[in-house]
Symmetry: C2
Subunit: 507 residues, 2 copies
């Protein structure tokens, strides 16, 4: 454990200037409104509301950007930084540093470039949709090429960066660099490729047969969610085509699910989103309306969702509690043995589609995208050559032949949005999840017992103290160091997967 | 009919300055975000979201106010007014006039007064809730007194007004004056009091017995709503404690219902809210994002909800279509005769509570509140004397004895919100509904046939052309004159009610 001051305790230090806190509250409120408008768009909005909704969101985002880039905010932040110089652990120091970085970023990227990106994205999205439907990469290639060019322009706004991809990565994972991500993901790749190959040589266990009635799944998911920390007074569960979590406020958390009668994937999707929600719900109340009252990075966010979904939700101890409780709802759970059930929810199969990938192969899908993105941004790979490079890497990493680009390099929406730098955070999150899991188990020898009793509270308490409560006060690397005593390190994930699947697959 | 240019046709005239239209779009977008946040608060928000939601709404309202009061907007509006001086029917002229008035109002009321009103309201609301629960008017009296004082301060910001209540009324009903409202409501009172007294001497018809399953009511309400013009691609129906309608956009209309198994009041509530929604959905698309793309006043809005709820929904011709169609869902509708059904949904009973009042007595509840409000603002009535005055008027107008203040002057939330000037619009709307109904029937001799066939389209088409499409382009008085050839006139409402209830009650 770290030797720093007790985490989660109210930060001492200088008081925040009221003009600054008013501006931060306004930024937070604009972000909250944007979050609700986005949630509603994916869950309740009638289809014809889409056009005007886009306009309202663009206006709120423009107002948010204007206010974030306001030089007067920059001055207040600089003054706060000077006032808190002697107390680097104070909230004011954290605000000056973190919001100062947001402000700097907002001022560095010129509005006309942001406007060109928005227009390019608006044009690219429908082309990508059509291209994917028709598996016609050539139609999308010029848009991908333009997206890469525009992101290189963004990168050029940060001339101090060591690598142009750094600026893109930093937007999602503050402090992460291309060099560091490269090293970490190379190590992950080296650990996963032989594990996947070894598993592929073993007979595949039987999956679940279903059917699992959707209403019963939704009720079961809510019951599990409550055992994790979902609170009916402050949370909602709705349906959405692509599940997501969104916090309108620390006490107003929206998670969504998607249901398939054929399996229990909907349960795992809800556990995943609840993991995201618990992070947002667990930030220290003192950070409300400071813009620091939210998750610090996509990677740390993903560590929380993956930890509840995989380390908890796909474990034997979890199902030892839930199988008998859910057996009344789903007859298959009455018939199947616990060992077979655990194997059935942990089937590993190298496959084409990232979002359907299992816990082991998932990381390789991310490694592939990261390597291509860096090459694109470096100019070492041309957009038109992406399909060949993609298919080659799929063979190399997963031993899978890609039959068409729809199931290959056109499958994800991220590049259609022009987002480069987002993908690696998925794998960074899985890596951090395994490190936090190790640390939590080290701190709480009885953790398995509580999970076997269907009680998520001890784990949640630990995560609140070590991760959630900090919001954006600590950068990801610092957070991880204090929580686990280590920097980002793929070894615990590789160890966790190797041990787990050695047992499940009798490797 | 009026001799003006064809309504609903695209307005000719000068083009709007792009700087002005950007500002109007921003104001519209902020209002749309506020509308969605409000809708969600009443329909989906978890209870603990209330605190932060209040903050977000206050921030958006402050931003909206700042931008509306911006002197630069005033200059653009003045320039637009000059540019459109020769074309008073153009959209630009309407924008210059209507938004000019909004801007003027926003600049006249100082922000510190708005702030004091917000704080007073925040303090008054919980006191009113407790006072109503305990029927303890004395606890609420000082807050009502302060609310009246604050509204007199608002009125004082408009020194040109003939009467201090004018400024309050004008916020909800542009162009309406105290003198005019007094004359109109006195005439309404003179017509209703003897009608109510005559009905009270007749035996009361049997009401419905129920039960009516809530799910079946919701499905029936949707079916009826669709026949009025509810469009699944652009509307939603949700549940709410107090039904309301809210348009997030012209193509994103949210209506809500509240259900009582004991009667069909939920159906009428939905018809009412759909009437509001159809108004918002029917504004000319050219007014989108101009701030003129919404209903012109609360009175005209209420005319639309009441027309669909009462003139249509409580008519014999309506039930001649819907009774057989809904009989499969509700056994009571199979057994009851059409005449008895129509009588059952039109029971008149002088009673204590405005929101439960029938079509005939409703107006007198409003007359009472209007007379007290004017006396409060004039200083002729002290807040502490409200209960006595209320109870006296209830006896005089409705012949009802008020047993306690909870069921008397503490029943409505409006005064707890400090809203004075709102109540009369309910009666003005009922009056306008009857005028529009007469005009529509005059223009469409086959209107009854279409309603008997369950087809709301002809009536909707007429209302779109005469009322909805104009948005806020025409002031209420001008709108009514063009649509009906008459100014606001209670005679058609009194005639309609007298004829309808003479038949139902064999007067």
């Amino acid at each position: 454990m770290a030797s720093s001051p007790p985490e989660g305790s109210p930060a001492a230090g200088p008081r925040i200037d009221s003009r600054l806190s008013e501006r931060l509250a306004e930024l937070s409120d604009l972000a909250a409104a944007t979050a609700l408008l986005g949630w509603d768009r994916e869950t309740h909005m009638p289809s014809q509301g889409a056009g005007p909704r886009g306009e309202v969101l663009a206006t709120l985002e423009r107002l948010h950007h204007e206010r974030l880039a306001d030089p007067a905010l920059g001055e207040l932040l600089a003054a706060a930084g000077r006032a808190a110089a002697g107390e680097p652990e104070s909230d004011v120091a954290a605000i000056a540093r973190v919001v100062g970085r947001d402000h700097e970023r907002a001022t560095r990227i010129p509005p006309e470039l942001t406007g060109r990106i928005a227009r390019a994205t608006a044009e690219a999205l429908p082309v990508w949709q059509r291209a994917r439907a028709e598996s016609d990469f050539a139609a999308f290639a010029p848009h991908l090429e333009r997206a890469v060019e525009l992101r290189r322009e963004v990168a050029a706004c940060f001339p101090d960066a060591e690598h142009p991809y750094d600026a893109l990565l930093d937007a999602f994972e503050p402090g992460m660099t291309t060099a560091r991500a490269r090293a970490v993901l190379a190590e992950l790749r080296a650990g996963l490729v032989p594990l996947v190959a070894a598993i592929a040589e073993r007979p595949e266990p039987a999956g679940l047969r279903g059917p699992f009635a959707v209403d019963a799944q939704r009720a079961a998911a809510l019951e599990i969610a409550r055992s994790f920390g979902y609170d009916d007074r402050a949370w909602r569960l709705d349906d959405a085509v692509h599940p997501f979590a969104s916090a309108i406020a620390r006490t107003d958390v929206r998670v969504t699910g998607r249901w398939d009668e054929g399996d229990l994937s909907g349960l795992f999707a809800v556990m995943h989103e609840v993991g995201h929600g618990l992070y947002e719900a667990g930030v220290a109340p003192g950070l409300d309306r400071t813009t620091l009252g939210t998750g610090v990075s996509l990677g740390i966010h993903e560590s929380q969702s993956r930890l509840w979904e995989n380390q908890v939700g796909r474990s034997r101890v979890f199902w030892s509690h839930w199988q008998p409780r859910l057996a009344g709802r789903f007859s298959e759970l009455e018939e199947i043995g616990l060992d077979d059930l655990v194997r059935a929810v942990n089937v590993v199969r190298p496959s084409l589609i990232r979002v359907d990938a299992d816990e082991v192969t998932y990381g390789l899908h991310v490694v592939l995208r990261f390597e291509l993105e860096v090459a694109l941004v470096e100019g070492a790979l041309a957009a038109r050559d992406v399909p060949g490079a993609w298919n080659e890497l799929m063979r190399e990493l997963l031993g899978v032949a890609v039959p068409d680009d729809a199931r290959g390099c056109l499958q994800d929406i991220h590049w259609a949005f022009g987002e480069l730098g987002y993908f690696p955070t998925y794998a960074l999150g899985n890596i951090a999840a395994a490190q936090l899991w190790d640390a939590a188990r080290g701190d709480m020898p009885a953790l398995d017992d509580s999970l076997a009793a269907g009680d998520g509270a001890p784990l949640l308490g630990w995560l609140r103290e070590r991760v959630h409560s900090h919001g954006r006060r600590l950068d990801p690397a610092e957070l991880l160091m204090r929580a686990t005593g280590s920097e980002l390190d793929p070894a615990p994930l590789i160890r966790y997967l190797t041990a787990k699947y050695a047992e499940l697959y009798a490797l």
